[in-house]
Amino acid sequence: MSDPAASAAVQPYLLLSAVLFCIGLYGVFSRLNAVGVLMSLELLLNACNINLIAFSRYCDRGVELARFGGTALGAQGQVLALLSITIAAAEAAVGLAIVISIYRSFRHINVDDLDLLRW
């Protein structure tokens, strides 16, 4: 079932996602303004989603459908990815609202300068 050649089918996707993940992390670490950080976060989530979809295509073992019968192949990863997209949208909405709120109080959105709370 898991011979090296077959394993290689999923490898390129994983490597792409690893690189994307690493770029996203860099963005999170280094972006000065909050919007930039939030955008980098989207890259992180997309890296995860690429993984999930790749695995759902190649590695899924399927789930039993109790009510309708049969086995749904690849559904698990896709559902997780779908939910992660939804969550990302929700998080972006809340996050940007907070960013705007920050802007109103601080007159800037430099994450690095938000250090009222420390030590």
Binding site: Y13, L15, S30, M39
Partner: protein
């Protein structure tokens, strides 16, 4: 390894190059509007990857939800915040060097671990319509709970966004 064995065609490589380039644009460009557009590009291309993996429905969601909603939100935020749009200023903090090292190190760890692994891959033909049908049935069957919960999460997020928006009038 041949393209046939891996299932990766030239389309993938084009998409991959586009994604990585776009992602670098997101994190490196000094103009936030350009950065946001790069994000849109990346998200679109990731949708392409989904198509490549025969997850058509997801690709649709990706374009609708991400490119449609999220990127628009981001752009609105950029516009709302003065002096953020259309300016070329330094957009990195002082820790970017360390950040780069940590990011590259974790990327290296991931790449190494992934290459070290024999994934339990089953190569099987894809029946598009059957897969789509099953996916939808699964959503109604097993995944009905997460689906409902996701609705509540969006409601909460909506309420939260309103809370933060309201405060502004009070504090001015």
């Amino acid at each position: 390894m041949s393209a046939a064995a891996t299932g990766v065609g030239p389309a993938f490589w084009l998409l991959a190059v586009g994604i990585i380039g776009g992602a670098l644009g997101v994190v490196l460009l000094r103009n936030m509007v350009q950065s946001a557009l790069c994000l849109g590009l990346v998200l679109l291309l990731v949708g392409g990857i989904y198509l490549n993996l025969h997850a058509d429905l997801l690709a649709g969601f990706q374009v609708l939800l991400y490119v449609g909603a999220v990127v628009t939100l981001v752009l609105i935020a950029i516009m709302l915040i003065h002096n953020l749009a259309a300016r070329y200023v330094v957009q990195t903090n002082q820790r970017w060097g360390l950040g780069a090292v940590a990011a590259v190190a974790s990327g290296a760890l991931l790449v190494w671990a992934i290459n070290d692994t024999r994934w339990p891959v089953t190569l099987r033909p894809v029946d598009y319509s059957e897969q789509l049908r099953q996916f939808c049935l699964a959503l109604l069957d097993k995944y009905i709970l997460p689906f409902e919960v996701a609705a509540v999460v969006l409601l909460v997020a909506l309420l939260g966004a309103i809370v933060f928006a309201q405060q502004t009038e009070r504090s001015e």
